[in-house]
Symmetry: C2
Subunit: 114 residues, 2 copies
Amino acid sequence: MAQFVDDRKSATIERRAKLFRGFADPSRLAILGALCNEPLAVHELVERTKLSQPNVSNHLRCLLECGLVASDRHGRFIRYRISSPRITVLLSDVDALLDVVAEGVEACDNYREA
Amino acid sequence: MAQFVDDRKSATIERRAKLFRGFADPSRLAILGALCNEPLAVHELVERTKLSQPNVSNHLRCLLECGLVASDRHGRFIRYRISSPRITVLLSDVDALLDVVAEGVEACDNYREA
DNA sequence: ACAACATATCAGCAAGGAGTGATATGGCGC
DNA sequence: GCGCCATATCACTCCTTGCTGATATGTTGT
C-alpha cells in the first residue's frame, strides 16, 4: 500500500480538494443524482431538482468544464449526462462511509446544514 | 441498482454534501493523509503538515466530532487515528476519478486553487 | 425577419468557512 | 504549587462561493 500524501501544497492534495469541493454542495449533488438516473436537458433538470434555471446552468458549466458531465445538443435542447461510472462509485462509497459516521456528521456544527 | 437521489433538500443529499465538505480542503486532506499513514499526536501533525497548531487543533476537533478520527490520550499527548478504512477507500475513489478528469478539474476556474 | 422557446451569462449580494495570534486549559515533573 | 510542555479555544479578518434577477445568446417554426 502506497504512502499517503500529507503535504498540503502537493498537486495531488490540491486536486483532490478541488474535486471534493465539486461534490460538496447539495444543489450540485442533486443535479448529479438526477443525471445518474438518466441523461437530461436543462429544463428537465430545473424541474427535477427544483433549482432555478440560472443556478442549474451555472452548475452545469462547471461540471462540463471539470469533465464530470458531457453534453449533446438536440436542436433547442442540450442533454447532459454523467461522464464516468466512477462518479456513481464515489457516491456509493460516500454512503458507505456515512453508514459509519452519519451520527457524528449530523452532530458536527462545523459545516452548514442547508 | 437503486434510484439516485435528486431532491436537494433530502437528508441523504445534505449529509453527503456535508461529508464531502469535510474533505474539500487541502489542509484537511493533509491531516487525513498523515493519519492514514500512522496514528499521530497533535505536535507531530503540526510538524508533518507544516500547518499551525491552532489550525491543526481546529481541524481535529471537527474530524473527531464527525467521527472520522478517534483519539487516545497518553499523558500529555493525544494521539489521533483514522476511524474507518472506508476513508482510504474514498481517497482511492477520488484518485481513480481524477485519473479520468484531472485535466478538466485543473482547467476549471470555479474553485480556488490554494 | 420575428416571436417563442431553451439555455448561458452577468453583476451583485450575503453567507460560509479557513486561518491567525493570543490566550485558556490540561498533564507532567520537580 | 509552580513552571514547562501539549493542546484546545477564542475573536477577528478576509476570501470564497452559492444564489438571484436580469439580460444575452442560440435554435426553431412561421
